[in-house]
């Protein structure tokens, strides 16, 4: 990403912090897609057949919320949002690893798929790659020279 990228004029107290412009946008776009996908999937599952697999559907909803929070955390600027993004991406990585392992080990508890089942196989493993990309990006960004 070019450091000289002309962006929209920022408020003086919120200088550009990477994810609001440029390559970070691609990441935010991916997160937004997954936020929509996970939230809609969970809404449908919970609204139509929650009793069939309460654990899987509750986790679906949780995954959806985490994606929404991660999207916001990455899209917004400022230290607090950055910290939010860190937490969300970490929870997401732990979630996809835990749920992925559980869904393979105890298939009975997961009769229906969630975004995180089998490490996100139903979503081309993007759910597994996304938090790693997010964390790498946040790390790279935090190492850039601090704002004055």
């Amino acid at each position: 990403m070019s450091a000289t990228t002309p962006g929209a004029p920022d408020a003086p107290d919120a200088p550009p912090r990477g994810t609001a412009t440029g390559l970070g946008r691609v990441l935010v776009a991916l997160y937004a897609v997954f936020a929509v996908a996970a939230v809609s999937r969970a809404s449908v599952q919970i609204a139509t057949r929650f009793t069939e697999a309460p654990l899987a559907y509750a986790l679906s909803a949780f995954a959806g919320v985490v994606y929404v929070v991660a999207t916001l955390g990455l899209a917004r600027t400022g230290r607090r949002w950055r910290r939010t993004a860190w937490v969300a991406c970490t929870v997401e990585l732990l979630g996809v690893l835990t749920v992925g392992t559980l869904s393979l080990a105890d298939a009975a508890a997961f009769p229906d798929d969630t975004v995180w089942s089998a490490y996100g196989r139903g979503y081309l493993f993007v759910p597994l790659v996304l938090p790693v990309l997010g964390l790498v990006y946040l790390r790279a960004e935090s190492r850039r020279p601090a704002r004055p």
Partner: protein, 120 residues
């Protein structure tokens, strides 16, 4: 839902996504030609949605009815949202948001086809 139509949507979206990558690689910005291309893909998506709605109206009942309807509702919104977003930030990599959207359209069209194939 017509498999041919799904193939057309996927093909057009793939071409548009490739174009976005080329544009970013050549350090160009989104121009009128891109908007025209996006409009073509969006028209194909709308045709697909119309096809899906027609199938529902004429009595096709996918097993995953609610999900199928959700796909038909979300599908036409993806490209306009990405376009607005790309135009709002004229930096070089923001063109790649279009790539993400085009890939999403491919996945949505394909999954919609699968959803409409499993009927009760």
């Amino acid at each position: 839902m017509s498999g041919t139509l799904v193939a057309v949507v996927c093909g057009l979206a793939a071409v548009m996504g490739g174009w976005a990558v080329l544009t970013a690689a050549r350090d160009r910005r989104v121009g009128r030609a891109h908007l025209a291309g996006l409009a073509v893909v969006e028209l194909a998506v709308l045709a697909l949605v119309a096809d899906g709605v027609a199938a529902l109206v004429t009595g096709t009942r996918p097993v995953e009815l609610a999900t199928s309807i959700a796909y038909l509702v979300v599908a036409p919104l993806v490209l306009p949202a990405a376009t607005l977003w790309t135009l709002a930030d004229r930096s070089r990599p923001s063109v790649l948001v279009l790539l993400v959207a085009c890939l999403a359209v491919v996945v949505i069209a394909y999954r919609a086809l699968l959803l409409f194939q499993v009927t009760r």
